[in-house]
């Protein structure tokens, strides 16, 4: 395999004494292509070089991507296992750490049953590792309690796509086609800050006259460049989508032929959007009638449109409904399964797509199989070499695992590649739950806020110290290359899982020598499933610029455009959504009069464990702030830079005020990348979506006080 992959005629700067190794960014779902610069003498990573010929991102990177390499040889890396003794972490040997894990896992399972030990995974790691986390929980530990941080990220999109389209692939079209799109309807996505390298495609399309409609309570850098900015109140997406569909139907923009042939429920949908007149929609959403009508006409008239959304619509207690409604908007226009049009969610985590397909989820098995389907269990058991009766039942979702801790059912937890002490809602509850655990293990490469609660911290490798595959936001499976050996005594996550499996007497099921062994097994495990990777090989990925799943055989070209002929539902038809508007779980009251919403800034990634350790990014954005309109601020005599105290039913915090008119007057926005006293997730609402179990990060009621 080649380390440095480039196309003929593309020039890169090669510094003497260095080599370039081709890989992708470790952060968001864009998975921007890059080459890492390695000093051949010292073996240290020294910088980054753009990968101009990666077809999805063309060398572009956001500031996180440019500085990503700085975390690899970072001085704060954990290089030895840590064991907590008398409240302090002490460096130890791997044997000591594994002894302790074995002793505690076995004794707790002996006393309380197998399910007493739980696994909390993450999707900022390769498919190989994500696949192994599910197998590790079910086979090595035999527990049903496994879930992952995708519940805080992608699960509503997944749930919504499953309902409407029958298959959850983040984007139904490949990104380079966006250049030919005529209209982008973007709801709850601050693409310019969260997936910046997409913007180049939007401009390419706009240079040809494409239009952009953005729904967001804030005039984000994305909304700023829109033709229509639908400045809706947080949590009113289902009303907005119903209102848009009302107009699309009324104005005759429905592709009747497509809908009749390829969709169910049209009559129900028609009936349910009937009452969403622009007046009614405007009343609920706070968006002016004029803007609603303008947006509907632009969207309705565009021959090729893409419906795009992200956490803004998904991180709500009605997230799945929102996704089904917005997807239905694309269906009414007959857009899904065609060139340069369709529907897409912006995958937040690097491998948010791949990581949710392969059985880290409480109810899922590899290849998007279901644990409550006996056929699926039988097949996966046969690949794993276990008896189907040994397969644990479905567990519970990420946030609900903390309820199980509180109830005393979960006594130990192994957290892998995740930092729920920052990223889970209602932090105080999470912290209290960690303290209640009898035993906690964390695998990470920095001492995250979650790791601080652990009894044992295992030093994991960074993304550049192992190879494997990820699946980007398009559904394209790509190669992550190994740049160097793991630092100090740190080990790759799969080696760690293998070592613990051996200690639990299940080593024979984890007989891997490298990630490729795992990939080969996982190809078989996904075969015949919805997310079928069986035709994908490392060699093909390299040669073909990645491969889109499903790819059921080695001579199959992969599937860049989904649903060209039929949908993934049993009858092959898409299910249009007929869903009522329901208000958010928590609404402003006399006591808590304003709406608090949270999100990202361009300089940080998720819980910030990596980006808060990167100098450039911290210089740009060192701490969270409360962004609000000067009109709201003046009610509390707050000026730019003043401290404000914010409180919800669950928690409180004090941060500096940042004033701008580029936000609704009734909203306060705080970015969520910080821990402890700076964590806005102390305030957020854990109300869960009934299907996806996604918490309502995006809306809660808050009160303010000047301090």
């Amino acid at each position: 395999m080649t380390e440095f992959v480039t196309k003929p005629g593309v020039k890169n700067l090669q510094h003497p004494g260095e080599k370039l190794i081709t890989t992708h960014c470790c952060y968001c779902g864009m998975q921007c292509g890059m080459h890492i610069r390695l000093n051949e003498k010292t073996g240290k990573v020294v910088g980054v070089e753009p990968r101009y010929d990666w077809p999805v991102t063309l060398g572009k990177m956001c500031p996180k991507g440019v500085t990503a390499y700085q975390t690899i040889d970072h001085p704060e890396r954990i290089t030895k296992p840590l064991i907590k003794k008398n409240g302090e972490f002490v460096e130890s040997t791997w044997d000591e750490a594994l002894d302790l894990i074995e002793k505690n896992f076995k004794s707790l399972q002996g006393k309380h049953g197998k399910d007493a030990v739980s696994v909390f995974g993450g999707v900022s790691m390769t498919n190989e590792k994500c696949y192994l986390v599910g197998k590790y929980a079910r086979v090595a530990l035999g527990t049903r309690f496994v879930d992952y941080n995708g519940r805080f990220c992608m699960s509503s999109a997944a749930g919504g796509f499953m309902k409407t389209l029958g298959i959850d692939r983040g984007s139904t079209l490949p990104w380079p086609e966006l250049e030919h799109t005529d209209c982008f309807f973007m709801a709850g996505t601050n693409t310019a800050e969260c997936h910046p390298t997409t913007i180049q495609w939007l401009w390419k399309a706009r240079d040809k006259g494409a239009k952009m409609i953005v729904a967001d309570p804030r005039e984000t850098p994305t909304a700023r460049i829109a033709d229509v900015h639908l400045d809706l109140k947080a949590g009113t997406d289902s009303a907005l989508a119903n209102g848009m569909m009302h107009l699309i139907i009324k104005e005759g923009y429905v592709d009747e032929e497509y809908v009749n042939e390829r969709c169910n429920n049209y009559e129900e949908l028609k009936a349910s959007v009937e009452k969403f007149t622009p007046e009614y929609t405007s009343e609920i959403t706070g968006v002016s009638i004029e803007k609603l009508v303008k947006a509907a006409h632009i969207y309705g008239k565009s021959p090729r449109s893409v419906m795009m959304f992200a956490r803004g619509v998904e991180q709500q207690a009605k997230g799945v409904d929102n996704v089904t409604l917005y997807t239905s908007m694309a269906l009414l226009r007959g857009q899904i399964g065609k060139f340069a049009s369709g529907v897409a969610t912006f995958t937040g985590q690097g491998n948010g797509q791949g990581g949710r397909e392969h059985g880290q989820k409480a109810d899922a098995l590899p290849g998007y199989r279901k644990i409550d389907n006996p056929e699926h269990v039988k097949y996966v058991s046969s690949v794993w070499g276990i008896d189907p009766s040994e397969m644990p039942k479905a567990g519970v979702s990420a946030y609900e695992m903390f309820d199980e801790i509180q109830a005393g059912n979960i006594r130990a937890m192994h957290v892998i590649c995740s930092n729920p002490a920052v990223s889970a809602p209602n932090n105080n509850y999470i912290w209290d739950s960690f303290n209640k655990l009898d035993f906690m293990v964390v695998s990470d490469f920095f001492l995250s806020e979650t790791a601080e609660f652990a009894d044992v911290v295992l030093p994991a490798s960074s993304w550049a110290e192992d190879e494997g595959t990820t699946t980007n936001l398009e559904g394209r499976v790509i190669r992550i290359r190994k740049v160097k050996d793991p630092i100090g005594e740190s080990k790759t996550d799969w080696e760690i899982l293998k070592l613990i499996a051996e200690r639990m007497g299940k080593g024979s099921f984890f007989n891997y020598n490298n990630p490729r062994d795992i990939f080969e097994e996982f190809r078989v495990a996904s075969k015949g499933g919805k997310a079928d990777y069986s035709g994908i090989t490392y060699e093909r990925i390299e040669k073909e610029d990645g491969i889109f799943w499903p790819c059921p055989s080695e001579d199959h070209p992969g599937t860049p455009t989904m649903f060209q002929e039929s949908f993934g539902t049993p009858d092959g038809k898409a299910n249009l959504a007929a869903v009522e508007w329901q208000e958010p779980d928590e609404n402003p009251s006399n006591e808590f009069p304003h709406i608090l919403t949270t999100g990202r800034v361009v300089f940080h990634y998720l819980s910030g464990s990596q980006t808060r350790r990167t100098d450039f990014l911290m210089e740009q954005c060192p701490e969270p702030y409360a962004e609000m309109h000067p009109h709201l601020a003046s009610k509390y005599a707050l000026q730019d830079g003043d401290n404000v105290y914010l409180e919800t039913k669950r928690g409180s915090m004090t941060v500096k005020v940042k004033l701008t008119k580029a936000i609704r007057e009734d909203h306060v926005f705080i970015p969520y990348h910080w821990g402890k006293e700076l964590s806005v997730n102390k305030l957020t609402n854990p109300a869960l979506d009934p299907t996806s179990r996604m918490p309502e990060f995006k809306v809660c009621a808050v009160k303010l006080k000047k301090v």
Binding site: P50, K60, M61, A192, I199, P221, V602
Partner: protein, 180 residues
């Protein structure tokens, strides 16, 4: 070097990737030499990038009493030469765009050199390479002229009106990339 830097200010999304990337360039000592500024954060999130204009007749070099600022054969205006710069800071005041930066510890000026160690091989500078919004581009002169004409063309087709929430009007027009 037949290529030019082409800036489209209104495309800037304020990500500061260009600045992070500037630090990555070989001779840049991990210090960025370009700027990204809010026009007025109270009003809008519009930002714009600023970098050296690589003037034909650079004021910075002209006002330098020590002749420390060299111009390459391709016309790139380099940082002050370490051994010549006397730290008078004339250049920082002389430049009409406020570009040269001053390192008070090392007592010398440093500035954007268009990533000369890249551009001398016709490889795009770091800022233009990474800018996710194509606000900064490194393109052929002909392509630049075509893009400028394209703007007018699109305005004519569309019946020239700035789209909602656009704050393009705030951008100083003397940078000359605007046909309107």
């Amino acid at each position: 070097m037949k290529k030019v830097m082409y800036l489209e200010f209104e495309r800037c999304i304020g990500c500061r990737s260009c600045q992070a990337a500037c630090r990555e360039c070989g001779g840049h000592d991990a210090k960025e030499r370009n700027y990204v500024e809010y026009i007025d954060f109270f009003e809008s999130r519009q930002t714009y990038p600023m970098m050296c204009m690589q003037c034909k007749d650079p004021a910075c070099a002209k006002v330098c009493p020590a002749n420390a600022i060299q111009i390459t054969e391709e016309g790139v205006v380099l940082s002050a030469m370490e051994e010549k710069c006397i730290g008078c800071r004339n250049c920082t005041f002389g430049c009409p765009f406020g570009i040269p930066k001053f390192d008070f510890e090392e007592n010398k000026m440093y500035k954007c050199d268009m990533c000369y160690d890249r551009t001398k091989y016709d490889i795009s500078p770091m800022c233009a390479s990474v800018c996710p919004s194509d606000a900064i581009r490194f393109i052929d002169h002909d392509e630049m002229m075509e893009l400028r004409r394209r703007r007018t063309q699109m305005n004519l087709i569309e019946g020239k009106k700035p789209s909602q929430n656009d704050k393009w009007q705030y951008v100083p027009e003397f940078f000359g990339v605007y046909s309107d």
